[in-house]
Amino acid sequence: MTELIAFLEPDRSVIDRRPVIISDLADMLPEGCLITEERELVPFDTDAFVSYRRMPLAVVLPETTEQVAAVLKYCNDNSIPVVPRGAGTSLSGGAIPQEDAIVIGVSKLNRILEVDYPNRAALVQAGVTNISISQAVDADGFFYAPDPSSQLACTIGGNIGMNSGGAHCLKYGVTTNNLMGVKMVMFDGSIVEIGGKALDSAGYDLLGLICGSEGQLGIVTEATVRLLAKPEGARPVLFGFQSSVAAGACVTDIIGAGIIPVAIEFMDKPAIEICEAFANAGYPMDVEALLIVEVEGSDAEMEAMLERIIEIARRHGVKTIKESQSATEAALIWKGRKSAFGATGRIADYICMDGTVPLGQLSHVLEKTSEIIDRYGLRVANVFHAGDGNMHPLILFDANDPEESLKAEMAGNDILKLCVDAGGCLTGEHGVGVEKRDLMRHQYSGIDLAQQMRVRAAFDPKWILNPSKVFPLDGRNGSHAAQPASGKTAA
């Protein structure tokens, strides 16, 4: 199968040393923390960006920060690439390994170390799943706000790597706005602590830089995250419209009127059909576009806010308004939305785009997206965070058809360029990974990228950390400008 995206040419000298490397790693790790058998390595050969697969040299699953440090120091000393991994749910290929790389997975670092309600903070290890934090503090009336759709599986370490968002970040912000501190292992095995329970930290905002750095600056092993008081109640309401344009205009007007609901999610007809078939959430089937608007607070507050939202929706000719009548119904509404990717996966292969556009451009970009999809003869389902302009067109295709696979990737690239040209960006929450790496020049100039790469090199002088990701392979700074693989065939 033809691949559009190149990986770095594996370093033969590393692969040739594999037996020695494995034996050295075994010496520094307890039993059960090193995976080298091919059969057991297979689950690590990709992430949720399944079009690309590469077998790693070995996988290590350390149990302590010190073990992470020992492995990282060893890899740096011996110039062995390292690919950090959380749960492997990246949609941009951020955790896909390469043949000469050691994967350092944080899955065994899975304890919640401290919950501190007076300071509204939790200290957790990096391999703790996103949802388990909220679950641990739920009974006491707290929650952790960022809620990516993969929250049942994805780890806090991965969330920090990608600066993950979620449906409710319209009100609560994304990971970077809810992260207070990290313990991180640097390239040379040194361990640094940044931030903590204070609201800001001294000096340059290293925490802000690390969050979303896609495993290229270090490996986070512990994090202090913000806990928030749970709202008294929350109510998602469905608004069905006769056109995507009307739904998009309604979103703009809600925000413009000074109303910030906790979430505004958008689905077009294909997405409604896919999700309803999966979740039986009671989505209206006779509309072209659906908004899920969630408000929260006491009953009186929710009603006051809904009254204003409904009035705006009526001005845009809303056809159906359906309020959830119970917690079960509310949960079903969200189940439908959050399983959109999984549900789509049942009917076709898909790739999910993640561009963000200014709110005023939503309708325009939706229209152009469908033109692009038509041009390639493909199908698309749109489901996204409308309140903050973060689009998620799901491009459907048949992975067994090489030509269609290629078309899907090309259509995706065209859509992302469209987002940038509309004043937006390539990725709102999924990260650049390998998927959008070669489009970076569409958003940034050579000078912009060079500045980012210099900062990267200040953290990882040899470029051993997740080296195939984020920055285009050609034109990298300095002596670490490894060459892209020449053969573009799959492993």
């Binding site: 994304v174 008081a229 556009v357 980012q452």
Partner: protein, 405 residues
């Protein structure tokens, strides 16, 4: 001090040219916006000053997109007036440093972000850095660099935007900033709980923050500062103040719940929207310690439950006056005489960590005492490497943040 020449570039290209000149002649420049926060940081000895005061104008503002872009030298006043017209605001409530330094001048939007200057709403709405979406700046090699953009969610590449916020002009000269704005709340009230000591206040604030009433400001004003606020109108012992904002019906419901809870802790009064707006502006601008000195002032950031413990410990050793914002996690300390830097920083460490910034002190003190919290060796080395990647020749505000930054 040597007389410095002030340069006023009128475009981004001018800035780039002037920085390149500075590199060529190996003469560092001091970067300035409105100059109202010049008392912050180590004193500089630069041959010339580069002022962005003529890089002005709002470049993009569509209220329905909740985003504004402006050139760095745009007066904050102009930004706020435009927002006001559309019933919007900067949600992070940037502090005005003029009162505490006793200076005149025009704060600029660039200065706000260069200093990551935030106010009381930081506990609920994030800091300036959380609201900064995009920047254009000139680095120390005279290159024009952009990072981020004008959309609210953006994880494309390394987040240099965060790094620029709070770097005080040591990494680049901000030329244009794009930031999030939010609707102004329809109304606001302040619940004042009277008579609590510092420790009780910390508990009360933590309790309020753990309720689902969305407190947007939580401060404690001990007896020693209370008469210096609101023209003395609050003068009858300490006040622990909690702000609620939002839609009228919502604030009414939440206020009732919060009052019920707080009544169990002390006498409660409720301040209306006007009084609320005035009080929180004074808390934001450190009104109790206004006037330019000479007493040194620290800004201490610790875990909220540690703030009052720090003050209690210091009181045994030194003359100190203090009040608390950010649920107790932001402590404003005015020292009677000596800054007592070692003591302050030693106690912060002992209480679980945080940092202290010597916001006000005369220049000789700020030359001797690290104004910003000294970092552990590993982080300091990392910060130095970062500085070198932006400003390899050290021409931008050299040494303003520390001897290496």
């Amino acid at each position: 001090m040597i007389d410095t020449q002030v340069l006023y570039p009128e475009s981004e290209d001018d800035v780039a040219r002037l920085v390149a000149d500075a590199v060529r002649s190996d003469s560092p420049v001091e970067i300035r916006g409105g100059g109202t926060r010049g008392g912050m940081g180590r004193p500089l000895q630069a041959a010339s000053t580069l002022s962005v005061a003529r890089l002005t104008g709002i470049t993009n503002y569509d209220p329905t997109e909740l985003v504004m872009a402006a050139r760095a030298g745009t007066p904050l006043e102009e930004v706020e007036a435009a927002l006001d017209e559309n019933n919007q605001m900067l949600t992070f409530e940037p502090m005005d440093h003029r009162p505490i330094y006793g200076v005149e001048g025009t704060p600029t939007i660039g200065g706000v972000f260069a200093g990551n200057v935030s106010g009381p709403r930081r506990i609920s709405a994030g800091a300036a850095r959380d609201n900064l979406l995009g920047v254009r700046f000139v680095n120390g090699s005279g290159e024009i660099v952009k990072s981020g953009g004008r959309v609210m969610k953006n994880v494309t590449g390394l987040d240099l935007v965060k790094l620029m916020a709070g770097s005080w002009g040591t990494l680049g000269v901000l030329c244009e900033v794009t930031f999030k704005v939010l609707p102004r709340p329809e109304t606001a009230v302040t619940i004042a709980v009277r008579g609590l000591n510092d420790a009780q206040a910390a508990e009360a604030m933590a309790a309020a923050m753990s309720m689902s009433v969305e407190v947007s400001g939580a401060a404690h004003l001990p007896e020693s500062v209370i008469y210096r606020l609101m023209g003395g109108a609050l003068d009858s012992g300490p006040a622990t103040v909690l702000r609620l904002e939002g839609l009228e019906p919502s604030v009414a419901v939440r206020s009732k719940r919060l009052v019920e809870e707080m009544r169990r802790r002390g006498e409660v009064s409720v301040l209306d929207a006007d009084a609320t707006s005035g009080l929180w502006r004074e808390i934001r601008d450190v009104k109790p310690f206004e006037g330019g000195g000479p007493k040194p002032v620290w800004r201490v950031s610790v875990a909220p439950s540690a703030g009052h413990q720090l003050v209690a410990a210091l009181r045994l050793k030194a003359g100190v006056d203090a009040y608390y914002d950010w649920q107790g996690g932001l402590v404003w300390l005015q020292m009677e005489a000596d800054p007592e830097a070692d003591l302050v920083r030693q106690y912060i460490k002992a209480l679980g960590g945080g940092h202290a910034t010597l916001v006000r002190a005369d220049p000789s003190m700020r030359a001797d005492i690290p104004v910003f919290e000294p970092q552990p060796a590993g982080l300091e080395a990392l910060s130095r490497r970062i500085k070198e990647q932006f400003d390899p020749r050290g021409v931008l505000n050299p040494g303003r943040m520390s001897s290496v930054m």
